[in-house]
Amino acid sequence: MCFLCEQFGDPKQDSGLWYLNSGNYARNMYKLRAPGEGFKGADAGLETGARSGPSIADLINAAEKDDYAEYTKIQKAMLARGQGSQVVPLKDADKVLELSSPIGLIACICRKDARAIDERNELEYTCMGMGVGMLKWERWPERYKGGVKFVNVDEAKEWNHEMDRRGFVHILMLFGAPFIGGFCQCDYPDCGALRNAVDFGVGPIKGHYVAVVNYEKCNGCGICAQRCQWGALKFEVTNEKANIDLFKCYGCGLCETGCPRGAITLLDRSSVPAVAEVWR
């Protein structure tokens, strides 16, 4: 069980997975401010807490100086404060979308940062905001420059399946724990969360699954290797089959949904002792 499930999961609901606890998607629309009340800042929760203290920039600076000791120290500090995000495969993503309202399709802020790409309409959006906070998106007009397209559950699922087909990893984000407010569609290296995980080992935690290949069915087409964003999947030259490094696998399931022969399946991480507690 991951630390997010330990903190925010409900054992009575869906094996205690934190992101299938419907209470984690609930939030009030309004609040009255007490006289003199200010913003909570980093105390508001994991997501905002992650913004305080050392950052990726500090890691890069340490790496540039070849200061391994400093690099490890910063990395440990970042991991200790927790990262409020986790990789979720498509089969769980469908369940997630039934638990939140409203759901809004929005522009991706990471791609704007990394590629200077402005996604200006619903055909271009590659991110998803969830919860009543989305009703107030006009508070941040520069963030939501292309607007927000509100969709119902079926439309959200259809859109998410299309994102999966295109090869995006689904990552759930906490926005003031335990509230889940974002469902990012990520790829390397555009996405900040995914890049942090692959390059610096401090991004979202791994999902609750690992992918395994059925060698009887695999014909070595290599489609899965193209879809893996984590560097966990390679084409094995010796036997001309796909090979998955379970220690690198994040359980996103892109290889499974992309395999034309159904040769890859997702196993429950807890059923594989070697990686049962490998979350980073």
Binding site: G23, N28, Y30, K145
Partner: protein
């Protein structure tokens, strides 16, 4: 090239300007108006008048009738004020419904707004503890209910523990259901006398 950037920086950044100053929060005057009419002190005072001279079952029945009627009035006033004083948050819901013709935003968000206005205007807390809000169910809790406390002070703890006041909240929710036309099953899984808080849920049919 350097001049180009110098000139560029002199130009104002094309910030989006909202057509009017939006307010996403509840109108404070509206909240105060609701508080004047339905503050727990006033409602519990009226209850005491309604059960004056009555005892036992007679008092209980009188209280139930009183709360049922009062709950209807409370929610009617809440809906009236909510609709008279909209904010940008609920406008976003209604605009989406109007634009898409789809009703999926009405439940839970229109109903959630009425619930939040009703309780923020009459209780002591600053936000309503919403426990679930998705397309199937809306549920919320009322911890340390100010009305329950006032009933205990004015009519006695034993009378408060009979929970005749639940008709107030349930009557209000039924009124809201009738007004919005959204088919929901209203339930009260927990009540203050036993659990220390009241919980209400509305499950969409």
């Amino acid at each position: 090239m350097a001049d180009y950037f110098v000139e560029l920086k002199k130009q104002p950044y094309p910030m989006f300007t909202a057509p009017k100053p939006y307010s996403f929060d509840l109108n404070e005057d509206m909240v105060q108006m609701l508080r004047v009419d339905f503050n727990p002190d006033k409602v519990s005072g009226a209850l005491v008048e309604a059960i004056k001279g009555k005892k036992g079952d007679e008092a209980k029945k009188a209280a139930e009738t009183f709360f049922k009627d009062m709950g209807v009035k409370w929610m009617r006033r809440t809906i009236q004020l909510s609709d008279e004083y909209p904010d940008r948050t609920i406008e976003m819901v209604m605009e989406t419904v109007d634009r898409t013709g789809k009703q999926f935003m009405l439940f839970p968000h229109l109903i959630q707004r009425y619930v939040e206005v009703a309780y923020l205007g009459t209780q002591d807390f600053l936000k309503v503890p919403i426990t679930l809000n998705n397309v199937e169910v809306l549920s919320y809790r009322i911890p340390k209910c100010a009305l329950y406390r006032k009933i205990g002070e004015k009519a006695g703890e034993d009378f408060a523990k009979q929970m005749t006041c639940k008709g107030y909240c349930l009557g209000a929710l039924a009124t809201m259901q009738k007004h919005t036309g959204v088919d929901v099953i209203i339930d009260q899984p927990a009540e203050t006398a036993k659990a220390g808080y009241c919980e209400f849920s509305m499950r969409k049919l």
